[in-house]
């Protein structure tokens, strides 16, 4: 539903119908990584494993290159893509750091200092003007 008010939130993909429809096979691929034997099969031959899921070329490339934000833009949901991160041995906190473009320690330090403040992060306008 374009025109929804949540589209004005910066740096955020709301996992609505549109995103969910677009990301279905990408997310179902990630879901399959819940099982240890699938994690092994994927790591052994990523391209062959991905052939099982009819995702778009863009989605496939985002997976292969671990472009985490691009996966989200193309309909991935964080609770699904985090299973790919788990397969790579990346924790949820480090995954978050990567998506923000910060280095791991700087992100951790930001969190310990109270996290990213809401001021200046409420609307896309905040970011454009910031």
């Amino acid at each position: 539903m374009s025109g929804n008010d949540y589209h004005d939130i910066p740096g955020t993909f709301v996992f609505d119908a549109e995103q969910s429809r677009q990301g279905y096979h990408l997310n179902m691929f990630c879901m399959s990584l819940r099982q240890a034997k699938n994690r092994e099969a994927f790591l052994a031959d990523e391209a062959a494993y991905l052939d099982r899921y009819p995702m778009s070329a863009e989605q496939r490339q985002a997976v292969l290159s671990r472009d985490w934000n691009e996966m989200l833009r193309l309909g991935g949901n964080i609770y699904y893509t985090s299973k790919l991160a788990a397969t790579d041995g990346i924790t949820f906190q480090d995954l978050a750091a990567i998506m923000t473009g910060m280095d791991r320690d700087a992100y951790r330090q930001m969190m310990v200092a109270g996290g990213r403040p809401i001021e200046g992060n409420r609307t896309k306008g905040d970011w454009d003007n910031g």
Partner: protein
């Protein structure tokens, strides 16, 4: 008759589970998180509930995009802790209470809540982390558990108002169960956090504290918060807070706040914890 004797709200951050499982709770990073749960550990130990009714969300574990129930009520005899990609948590099997759960299911459906009954389900950190916080690391959980999985992953989740009303229907259902039984209702998830994309790490303590105040004293006002406010002001994953409204609805009109704890951070998340008693 069965009776609701307490409300227990808490964040269910997966990293909290990891810290417990790996014995890190005394480390300087974690100590301030866990110290806020000491009071409630004793409280629930003395309360000795028969059943924990746990409102939580599944994080692409038991449910995927193949099937997305808004409210899934567990009526099974047991639930295994799930492997979410990092291996299963080393915690006991969760034992259900089929008789009470089915009673609640029948009651709320006739009260026009369109739930999904589930008899075969694994449970993820959303359910097991709160149990660990409340009960520590026992060989077996000290009470039966009835899981209620709420969709908050696929937009839209149920409205805050719907969650509050559902809690009231659950209260009515529990109070009409014809056996003596003491039930604690858990509301889990939240507080402010965003796990995804460029805005990850968002924390909004003002929103969180205001939400806690409203939840205690003016649940109808808390229930009126629109989804977009959670998404914008509490982070895209902060919308998990609607689940606390189910717990609040189940506690009745007036409650006493027995305990509150708030700390930033645990991993990417603000940690909130509240213990309520029905008046």
């Amino acid at each position: 008759m069965a009776k609701i004797v307490g409300g227990y709200a808490t964040s269910h951050v997966p990293a909290i589970g990891v810290a417990i499982d790996q014995g890190k709770t005394e480390e300087p990073y974690w100590q301030p998180v866990f110290s806020g749960y000491e009071w409630s550990r004793k409280w629930i130990e003395e309360l000795k509930p028969d059943v924990a009714f746990v409102v939580y969300n599944d994080h692409a574990t038991a449910f995927s995009l193949e099937l997305i129930p808004t409210f899934a009520l567990g009526c099974a005899a047991e639930y295994q802790p799930a492997d979410e990609g990092w291996g299963a948590r080393p915690v006991p099997t969760v034992h259900g209470h089929p008789e009470l759960a089915w009673h609640i299911a029948q009651s709320v459906i006739l009260d026009e809540f369109d739930i999904t009954i589930v008899n075969d389900m694994e449970v993820d950190h959303g359910l097991t982390v709160p149990l660990s916080l409340a009960f520590g690391q026992p060989h077996a959980w000290p009470c039966a558990v009835i899981p209620l999985a709420v969709n908050v992953v696929q937009y839209p989740p149920p409205t805050g108002n719907r969650c509050l009303q559902f809690g009231k229907a659950i209260r009515k259902a529990i109070e009409s169960f014809p056996h003596d039984m003491r039930v604690v209702v858990f509301g889990t998830g939240g507080m402010s956090h965003q796990l995804q994309a460029q805005r990850a790490g968002l924390i909004n303590p003002e929103f969180d504290q205001k939400f806690l105040d409203l939840l205690v004293h003016d649940p109808a006002a808390a229930a009126a918060i629109p989804h977009v406010d959670y998404l914008r002001d509490a982070g895209s994953e902060g919308i998990e807070l609607v689940m606390w409204l189910v717990m609040r609805g189940a506690l009745g009109d007036n409650v006493t706040e027995l305990h509150r704890h708030y700390h930033v951070p645990a991993s990417n998340t603000a940690v909130g914890h509240l213990v309520l008693e029905p008046k």
